[in-house]
Protein backbone atom coordinates (compact mmCIF):
# COMPACT_ATOMS: atom_id res chain seq x y z
CA UNK A 1 0.00 0.00 0.00
CA UNK A 2 1.10 3.52 -0.70
CA UNK A 3 1.03 6.42 1.72
CA UNK A 4 2.11 10.04 1.56
CA UNK A 5 3.12 12.20 4.48
CA UNK A 6 3.28 15.96 4.32
CA UNK A 7 4.93 16.91 7.55
CA UNK A 8 3.76 20.51 7.72
CA UNK A 9 0.10 21.47 7.66
CA UNK A 10 0.98 25.14 7.36
CA UNK A 11 4.11 27.01 6.28
CA UNK A 12 4.20 30.76 6.82
CA UNK A 13 6.87 32.64 4.88
CA UNK A 14 7.66 36.20 3.87
CA UNK A 15 7.56 37.32 0.28
CA UNK A 16 10.81 36.74 -1.66
CA UNK A 17 12.03 34.20 0.88
CA UNK A 18 12.84 30.63 -0.18
CA UNK A 19 10.50 27.82 0.79
CA UNK A 20 10.58 24.04 1.00
CA UNK A 21 7.46 21.95 1.40
CA UNK A 22 8.22 18.44 2.56
CA UNK A 23 6.76 15.22 1.24
CA UNK A 24 7.66 11.65 2.13
CA UNK A 25 6.10 8.56 0.68
CA UNK A 26 6.09 4.87 1.32
CA UNK A 27 5.56 2.27 -1.35
CA UNK A 28 6.80 -1.21 -2.04
CA UNK A 29 7.03 -0.56 -5.77
CA UNK A 30 8.26 2.16 -8.09
CA UNK A 31 6.11 5.23 -7.97
CA UNK A 32 5.24 8.29 -9.95
CA UNK A 33 5.26 11.47 -7.88
CA UNK A 34 3.24 14.63 -8.28
CA UNK A 35 2.77 18.02 -6.69
CA UNK A 36 -0.59 19.71 -7.13
CA UNK A 37 -1.59 23.21 -6.07
CA UNK A 38 -5.05 24.39 -5.12
CA UNK A 39 -5.79 28.10 -5.16
CA UNK A 40 -8.89 29.28 -3.28
CA UNK A 41 -12.12 28.13 -4.90
CA UNK A 42 -10.29 26.35 -7.69
CA UNK A 43 -9.48 22.78 -8.61
CA UNK A 44 -6.18 20.98 -8.18
CA UNK A 45 -3.59 22.06 -10.74
CA UNK A 46 -0.48 20.06 -11.54
CA UNK A 47 2.76 21.85 -10.59
CA UNK A 48 5.18 19.13 -11.62
CA UNK A 49 5.66 15.39 -11.77
CA UNK A 50 8.43 12.83 -11.59
CA UNK A 51 8.15 9.72 -13.73
CA UNK A 52 11.76 8.67 -14.26
CA UNK A 53 15.16 10.05 -15.25
CA UNK A 54 16.62 13.19 -13.71
CA UNK A 55 15.78 13.45 -10.04
CA UNK A 56 15.42 17.23 -10.20
CA UNK A 57 12.13 18.18 -11.77
CA UNK A 58 11.16 21.70 -12.75
CA UNK A 59 7.55 22.77 -12.84
CA UNK A 60 5.39 25.80 -13.42
CA UNK A 61 5.61 29.08 -11.53
CA UNK A 62 9.30 28.60 -10.64
CA UNK A 63 8.77 25.52 -8.49
CA UNK A 64 11.04 22.50 -8.54
CA UNK A 65 11.21 19.23 -6.65
CA UNK A 66 13.86 16.64 -6.04
CA UNK A 67 13.19 12.93 -5.94
CA UNK A 68 15.33 11.16 -3.35
CA UNK A 69 14.81 7.43 -3.52
CA UNK A 70 16.95 6.56 -0.50
CA UNK A 71 15.03 8.99 1.69
CA UNK A 72 11.71 8.31 -0.06
CA UNK A 73 11.17 12.03 -0.34
CA UNK A 74 9.94 14.45 -2.98
CA UNK A 75 10.30 17.91 -1.45
CA UNK A 76 9.03 20.97 -3.28
CA UNK A 77 11.11 24.13 -3.39
CA UNK A 78 10.97 27.65 -4.66
CA UNK A 79 13.89 30.06 -4.26
CA UNK A 80 11.75 33.19 -3.93
CA UNK A 81 8.01 33.13 -3.25
CA UNK A 82 5.35 35.66 -4.20
CA UNK A 83 2.13 36.61 -2.48
CA UNK A 84 0.33 34.86 -5.32
CA UNK A 85 1.89 31.53 -4.28
CA UNK A 86 -0.41 31.46 -1.26
CA UNK A 87 -2.34 28.22 -1.76
CA UNK A 88 -2.63 24.64 -0.59
CA UNK A 89 -0.04 22.23 -1.97
CA UNK A 90 -0.64 18.49 -2.26
CA UNK A 91 1.91 15.78 -2.82
CA UNK A 92 0.59 12.61 -4.48
CA UNK A 93 1.84 9.24 -5.72
CA UNK A 94 0.62 6.66 -8.15
CA UNK A 95 2.18 3.53 -9.51
CA UNK A 96 2.21 1.56 -12.70
CA UNK A 97 -0.90 -0.42 -13.41
CA UNK A 98 -3.21 1.39 -11.01
CA UNK A 99 -5.36 4.41 -11.56
CA UNK A 100 -5.41 5.79 -8.04
CA UNK A 101 -3.60 8.86 -6.89
CA UNK A 102 -2.77 8.74 -3.20
CA UNK A 103 -2.56 12.20 -1.69
CA UNK A 104 -0.96 13.71 1.36
CA UNK A 105 -3.01 15.92 3.66
CA UNK A 106 -1.74 19.07 2.04
CA UNK A 107 0.40 21.99 3.16
CA UNK A 108 -1.00 25.48 3.29
CA UNK A 109 1.63 27.96 2.11
CA UNK A 110 0.96 31.41 3.53
CA UNK A 111 3.05 34.17 1.97
CA UNK A 112 2.96 37.55 3.66
CA UNK A 113 4.49 40.89 2.65
Amino acid sequence: AQSVTQLDSQVPVFEEAPVELRCNYSSSVSVYLFWYVQYPNQGLQLLLKYLSGSTLVKGINGFEAEFNKSQTSFHLRKPSVHISDTAEYFCAVSHSGYSTLTFGKGTMLLVSP
Binding site: F34, S94, Y98, F103
Partner: protein
Protein backbone atom coordinates in the same frame (compact mmCIF):
# COMPACT_ATOMS: atom_id res chain seq x y z
CA UNK B 1 -7.18 25.87 -22.19
CA UNK B 2 -9.63 22.98 -21.72
CA UNK B 3 -10.74 22.34 -18.18
CA UNK B 4 -12.86 20.00 -16.10
CA UNK B 5 -16.06 21.59 -14.85
CA UNK B 6 -18.30 20.52 -11.99
CA UNK B 7 -21.82 21.44 -10.95
CA UNK B 8 -23.11 22.47 -8.56
CA UNK B 9 -20.33 24.21 -6.67
CA UNK B 10 -22.20 23.67 -3.39
CA UNK B 11 -24.99 21.20 -2.63
CA UNK B 12 -26.88 21.04 0.63
CA UNK B 13 -29.05 18.00 1.22
CA UNK B 14 -30.83 16.23 4.05
CA UNK B 15 -29.67 12.89 5.37
CA UNK B 16 -31.22 10.03 3.44
CA UNK B 17 -31.71 12.00 0.25
CA UNK B 18 -30.15 11.11 -3.09
CA UNK B 19 -27.69 13.49 -4.69
CA UNK B 20 -26.12 13.58 -8.11
CA UNK B 21 -22.88 15.43 -8.63
CA UNK B 22 -22.07 16.34 -12.20
CA UNK B 23 -18.81 16.70 -14.04
CA UNK B 24 -17.85 17.52 -17.59
CA UNK B 25 -14.38 16.06 -18.24
CA UNK B 26 -11.99 17.36 -20.87
CA UNK B 27 -13.48 16.34 -24.20
CA UNK B 28 -10.80 14.00 -25.60
CA UNK B 29 -10.00 12.31 -22.30
CA UNK B 30 -10.83 8.66 -21.82
CA UNK B 31 -10.32 8.08 -18.10
CA UNK B 32 -12.46 9.63 -15.41
CA UNK B 33 -12.14 9.73 -11.64
CA UNK B 34 -13.89 10.85 -8.49
CA UNK B 35 -12.06 11.85 -5.33
CA UNK B 36 -13.32 13.36 -2.12
CA UNK B 37 -11.83 15.42 0.67
CA UNK B 38 -13.48 15.52 4.07
CA UNK B 39 -12.70 18.80 5.80
CA UNK B 40 -9.23 18.66 7.34
CA UNK B 41 -8.42 15.28 5.87
CA UNK B 42 -6.64 13.88 2.83
CA UNK B 43 -7.96 13.82 -0.69
CA UNK B 44 -9.14 10.22 -1.12
CA UNK B 45 -9.68 8.21 -4.27
CA UNK B 46 -13.20 6.91 -4.81
CA UNK B 47 -13.45 5.42 -8.28
CA UNK B 48 -12.00 5.39 -11.79
CA UNK B 49 -14.00 4.81 -14.95
CA UNK B 50 -12.99 3.81 -18.45
CA UNK B 51 -14.85 2.52 -21.48
CA UNK B 52 -18.19 2.80 -19.71
CA UNK B 53 -17.26 0.73 -16.73
CA UNK B 54 -15.58 1.05 -13.37
CA UNK B 55 -11.91 0.13 -13.64
CA UNK B 56 -10.98 0.58 -9.99
CA UNK B 57 -12.71 1.59 -6.79
CA UNK B 58 -11.77 2.14 -3.18
CA UNK B 59 -13.37 0.68 -0.09
CA UNK B 60 -15.17 3.99 0.40
CA UNK B 61 -17.09 3.41 -2.83
CA UNK B 62 -19.77 1.09 -1.45
CA UNK B 63 -23.23 0.24 -2.74
CA UNK B 64 -24.50 3.71 -1.89
CA UNK B 65 -22.32 5.17 -4.64
CA UNK B 66 -22.62 4.81 -8.38
CA UNK B 67 -21.11 6.49 -11.41
CA UNK B 68 -22.43 6.95 -14.88
CA UNK B 69 -21.52 8.52 -18.17
CA UNK B 70 -25.05 9.21 -19.42
CA UNK B 71 -23.94 10.90 -22.63
CA UNK B 72 -20.77 11.86 -24.46
CA UNK B 73 -19.87 14.70 -22.15
CA UNK B 74 -21.14 14.24 -18.59
CA UNK B 75 -19.79 12.03 -15.84
CA UNK B 76 -21.89 11.75 -12.71
CA UNK B 77 -21.51 10.51 -9.16
CA UNK B 78 -24.70 9.45 -7.41
CA UNK B 79 -25.04 8.92 -3.69
CA UNK B 80 -28.27 7.01 -3.09
CA UNK B 81 -28.98 7.78 0.54
CA UNK B 82 -26.68 10.40 1.95
CA UNK B 83 -25.20 10.18 5.43
CA UNK B 84 -23.74 12.93 7.56
CA UNK B 85 -20.27 11.50 6.96
CA UNK B 86 -20.66 11.99 3.19
CA UNK B 87 -20.19 15.72 3.75
CA UNK B 88 -17.03 16.54 1.84
CA UNK B 89 -15.59 18.26 -1.20
CA UNK B 90 -15.93 15.98 -4.21
CA UNK B 91 -13.45 16.36 -7.04
CA UNK B 92 -13.84 15.01 -10.53
CA UNK B 93 -10.75 14.40 -12.66
CA UNK B 94 -9.97 13.14 -16.13
CA UNK B 95 -6.89 11.98 -17.99
CA UNK B 96 -5.94 11.15 -21.52
CA UNK B 97 -4.00 8.03 -20.69
CA UNK B 98 -4.25 5.48 -17.97
CA UNK B 99 -3.01 6.96 -14.71
CA UNK B 100 -0.84 3.93 -14.21
CA UNK B 101 1.45 5.31 -16.90
CA UNK B 102 2.06 8.41 -14.81
CA UNK B 103 -0.21 10.53 -16.94
CA UNK B 104 -1.50 13.69 -15.36
CA UNK B 105 -5.03 13.86 -14.01
CA UNK B 106 -6.84 17.15 -14.58
CA UNK B 107 -9.10 18.15 -11.71
CA UNK B 108 -12.28 20.17 -11.55
CA UNK B 109 -12.94 22.85 -8.92
CA UNK B 110 -14.98 20.50 -6.76
CA UNK B 111 -18.50 20.29 -5.39
CA UNK B 112 -18.91 20.91 -1.71
CA UNK B 113 -21.57 18.53 -0.39
CA UNK B 114 -23.13 19.33 2.95
CA UNK B 115 -25.44 16.73 4.48
CA UNK B 116 -27.62 17.99 7.32
Amino acid sequence: EPEVTQTPSHQVTQMGQEVILRCVPISNHLYFYWYRQILGQKVEFLVSFYNNEISEKSEIFDDQFSVERPDGSNFTLKIRSTKLEDSAMYFCASSDLFAGTGDEQYFGPGTRLTVT
